[in-house]
Amino acid sequence: MSVRTSIEEQLKTLEQEAKEAIARAQTLEAVEEVRRVYLGRRGRLTLLLRTLADLPPDERARAGAALNEAKNRLLTRLNARAQEVRQAVLDARLRSEAIDITLPGRRPLPGRPHILGRTIHQILEIFRSMGFEVVEGPEIETEEFNFHRLNIPDDHPARDMQDSFYLDRVHLLRTQVTAVDVRVLPGRRPPVRVVSVGRCYRRDALDATHAPVFHQVDGFVVDEGVRFSDLKGVLSQFAREMWGPGSRTRFQPSYFPFTEPSAELAVYFGDRWLEIGGCGMFHPKVLEMAGWDPERYTAFAFGLGIERPAMVRYGIPDIRLFWENDLRVLAQF
């Protein structure tokens, strides 16, 4: 009787002490120490278990059950405490790793496309989506392609408008990308849709609105039954792609030796009409010179500036900004 009471009381005290020890343990090592002291091979609870053998069988079962239950409670408590301590240790480590998130980020300096490069890319993609083939031609041209094949004979007054840089008696820096058209024309079979972008040169001094070097996109469509209305349709579609679906275009009569009828194309942008280039139906003489029968085939052609629309579009007041390549400017686009 006294023995049994004694075991149960001992168990009660022991469990109480163990609980307090667990609660006091601050490190994983301390938790393990508590486990060893109470539940280890020579732990106090283990030792108490061994005294069960001295009890009479009927009491042994009850006391054994009480002891096992106490052991399980302590194990649960120990594991939970170990988890708490691990979490606390991790928290402490993570806290010690705190950084200053307000310091600047690290990254390579970004590369930017030039405004003209971006515009050229955009324009070519639009025409490509309308079935045009992109071609290139030389910047050093002959009078033959730059003028004669475009129905601009020597001493034509149109030559005044495009005073050119010459390299020798027949070679000059092309004054219009249209020269590429008449290079391409003879070698193709209809239907042909061709577009070309590149540099052109005119004898203009560099100032706010002129540059001796500038860019143009030029293209043409030849087939049986190509109409002036197609020219309007294609260029208006281009304008909508370029400047938004609400873009308005205006075609006004003009004069170019290589087109008849000829038109000046303007786009309404911001609050005014912006002239962006010339266009028209290829003059029959141009088709004839390229070996095409103008009775059977008709063609429209266009040549648009790159710099001016880009200036208006992006609010660039001075053409020289394109050529200065000030990164404070380029980085904005």
């Binding site: 600047p104 300096l109 003209l116 050093i140 820096l173 001796p212 109409r227 002036f228 205006r250 008849e260």
Partner: protein, 689 residues
């Protein structure tokens, strides 16, 4: 062309008065660009931009004809009445065209007893509003008629013409003339001149001579109205650097009828305004009269070309309003071109006339019918795009630089005089002193971009340009594309706590960008040799080879060159030919992703300083054989533990077999062979082994 509204409307009769404010919008729809509109009092001045094919638009009557046609009104021409008296004109003066190539028609009239004095106020005012200074009543009449009809006129003092004779001929060698502006000019041989019996007295169509000009005491005037060869006028004007209101008009071509009408009109004005008497008849040299021109218009083709359903009667009516006569010929119209529209030569010209007056804005918008082409970008342009994208991703900003340079720019990059890049094509007629040649390399332009930015306080400049360069060779010119890269400053944002070598651009950052290009285009056959171009640091530069072709240079900018571009700090520049790059490009091809694990080992060797890391790597790869998958330098060290004149290189090696897991012993065996080879080949000492 300045057009005074009140003057213009004198020639237009419409049921309703015309509204000038609306015409600022309407002129452009006829092809007359409006450069400016001025309002003065209750009048308007339109500054119109007229195209070079329309000489008739160089006179107010020509503009009035368009306005009348567009407004559905009627053109009222100025009176062509002239009251003549006295002896026949051919008894007092002679006109002769000595060279018919220079002059198509020359009409002379003589007015006697003129009293030279100021013009009436209305005339002086009109002239001045149109931008012409009033001189005296005689000269003013010639200018007035020029503005009115577009036909330039000249008035000679008949008594100062030797032999009372004018001859249109070309200038002979050494002939001189003092022109109205007081300048004594040596006439280029062949220039278009008007001479009297003895000497040149005027530059035909351009400017009169001082000797024969109208003076206060002039009393007999010979009026000249002519159609000079536009090319001859243009050539003479250009040769002398002299452009006038007259030459601008003559250069656009003439109208034989207008020549005569203008002479009559001016003579009559001299009679009424200067008190003169117009002698009977006219001196009309017109050796080969122009026949009237007839052009066939097929209304069906007109509709087909324009894509607009313009009824034949409507087209015919529009042409009639512009002064064209026509008669039907089957389905076609035979159109007689009036003399003031000599620019109309073919059916297309008539189609444009109809479209213009009908309204371009009324032509619908359609898309081309027929076979749908597929948009196409040729292979080389696709690759060029790829290249551009790679460079942008590598942190380089695209720049555009002018392709015109001065040889000075080549001096600045230290090119010796016989260097091939000195063969810059030279412009025959440069406009400015700094743009006289085509560029042969992007290097000076790119360094200039660095300079500009640095000067403006931009410290980190990393740029590239893909552009054309030029050259001259035996019998011609060449042009080709190159890609240039230039870098200076830091390559990273957020550089706090980083060692400078990680942040500042170096040769290796430049090389990294170049490598990115090769990688993107899948080009493997690339090698570098330690060589320098003249603008590069001789020991920090390389020639870039693709196979056995040198395709470019890269390196640190030579300190002397850097100084010429005000570049403090080290700058780097590379330039590569585009064509071989694009030829060498290969499409990407998938290599199987390895299935077996790799074995990684580090190898650290001490070598004499002058053994290049690349040579060591090559040897490692050679001995390492097919299982050596990667070999990369990860440390380069000189310092206390390494003997003088030596350096330590550490490589990280990765071995892998495609079909099994490599055993550690296999890898160890290969490593042994590598160590032995490095010892033998370079006298390397293996660290930690």
């Amino acid at each position: 062309m300045r057009v005074l509204w009140s003057w213009l409307v004198e020639y237009v009769r419409t049921p309703e008065p015309l509204d000038p404010s609306a015409w600022a919008e309407r002129f452009p729809m006829l092809g007359l660009g409006v450069d400016a509109v001025e309002r003065t009092g209750d009048d308007w001045i339109f500054d119109l931009e007229t195209t070079t094919n329309r000489p008739d638009w160089m006179g107010i009557v020509g503009i009035a004809r368009e306005v009348a046609a567009a407004a559905g009104g009627e053109l009222v021409l100025p009176s062509s009445e002239v009251v003549e008296e006295g002896p026949p004109v051919n008894e007092v003066a002679v006109v002769e065209i000595a060279d018919p190539r220079l002059c198509h028609r020359y009409v002379g009239r003589v007015v006697v007893d003129v009293r030279v004095g100021p013009s009436p106020r209305w005339m002086a005012e009109r002239l001045e509003r149109c931008g012409i200074r009033s001189i005296n009543n005689v000269v003013d009449v010639t200018n007035y008629v020029m503005l009115e009809l577009g036909q330039p006129l000249h008035a000679f003092d008949l008594d100062r013409l030797a032999g009372q004779r004018v001859v249109v001929r070309s200038a002979r060698a050494g002939e001189q003339l003092v022109t109205l502006d007081g300048v004594e000019r040596v006439l280029p041989e062949g220039a278009l001149v008007i001479a009297d019996a003895v000497r040149p007295v005027a530059l035909g169509g351009i400017m009169g001579g001082a000797d024969t000009e109208i003076r206060p005491d002039t009393c007999r005037v010979l009026l000249e109205s002519a159609w000079f060869n536009p090319v001859a006028v243009r050539r003479t004007a250009r040769a002398l650097g002299l452009r006038t209101e007259g030459s601008a008009r003559h250069e656009r071509g003439g109208d034989p009828e207008r020549v005569q009408a203008a002479a009559r009109r001016a003579a009559e004005l001299l009679r009424t305004l200067c008190g003169g008497r117009v002698l009977r008849g006219e001196l009309d040299a017109y050796p080969h009269p122009s026949p009237p021109r007839t052009v066939r218009l097929r209304p069906d083709r007109l509709r087909r070309v324009l894509g607009a359903e313009i009824p034949t009667e409507v087209a015919a009516d529009l042409l009639r309003r512009l002064g064209f006569d026509f008669q039907s010929q089957g389905d076609a119209l035979l159109v007689r071109v009036p003399s003031h529209r000599r620019d109309v030569e073919r059916e297309e010209d008539l189609i444009e006339e109809v479209a213009r007056l009908w309204g371009y804005d009324r032509i619908p918008e359609t898309m081309p019918v027929g076979a749908l082409g597929v948009g196409h970008l040729p292979e080389d342009l696709l690759l060029e795009r790829e290249l551009r994208d790679v460079l942008l991703r590598a942190g380089l900003t695209e720049v555009f630089t002018l392709s015109l340079i001065h040889p000075r720019d080549l001096d600045r990059i230290g090119l010796p005089s016989e260097h091939p890049l000195r063969r810059a094509p030279k412009l025959l007629n440069p406009l400015t002193e700094e743009h006289t040649h085509l560029r042969t390399t992007l290097v000076p332009s790119l360094l200039e971009v660095l300079r500009t930015n640095r000067t403006r306080g931009v410290a980190d400049v990393h740029v590239f340009e893909i552009g054309r360069v030029f050259g001259s060779r035996e019998g011609g010119w060449e042009e080709r594309k190159v890609v240039g890269i230039a870098r200076i400053g830091r390559v990273l944002q957020g550089r706090w706590n980083l060692p400078p070598e990680a942040v500042e651009t170096s040769f290796y950052h430049l090389k990294g960008a170049v490598e990115a290009v090769f990688e993107a285009l899948h080009i493997s056959d690339v090698s570098l040799t330690p060589e320098a171009a003249p603008w590069l640091h001789p020991y920090r530069s390389a020639a870039i080879w693709l196979g056995d072709q040198r395709i470019g240079w890269m390196g640190e900018v030579h300190p002397e060159v850097a100084e010429r571009f005000d570049l403090r700090g080290r700058a780097y520049v590379a330039e590569l030919e585009l064509a071989p790059l694009l030829r060498g490009a290969r499409p990407a091809q998938l290599r199987p992703v390895p299935r077996y694990p790799a074995v990684e080992r580090d190898l650290s060797v001490v070598l004499p300083q002058d053994v290049p890391a690349g040579a060591v790597e090559q040897e490692i790869r050679r001995v390492g054989g097919p299982f050596l998958e990667a070999c990369e330098v990860f440390d380069v060290y000189t310092g206390p533990q390494v003997p003088e004149g030596h350096r330590s290189l550490a490589f990280s090696l990765r071995f892998r077999a495609p079909d099994r897991t490599l055993a550690a012993e296999e890898v160890e065996g290969v490593l042994q062979e590598i160590r032995a080879a490095l010892r033998e080949r370079f006298g390397a000492r293996i660290r930690g082994a």
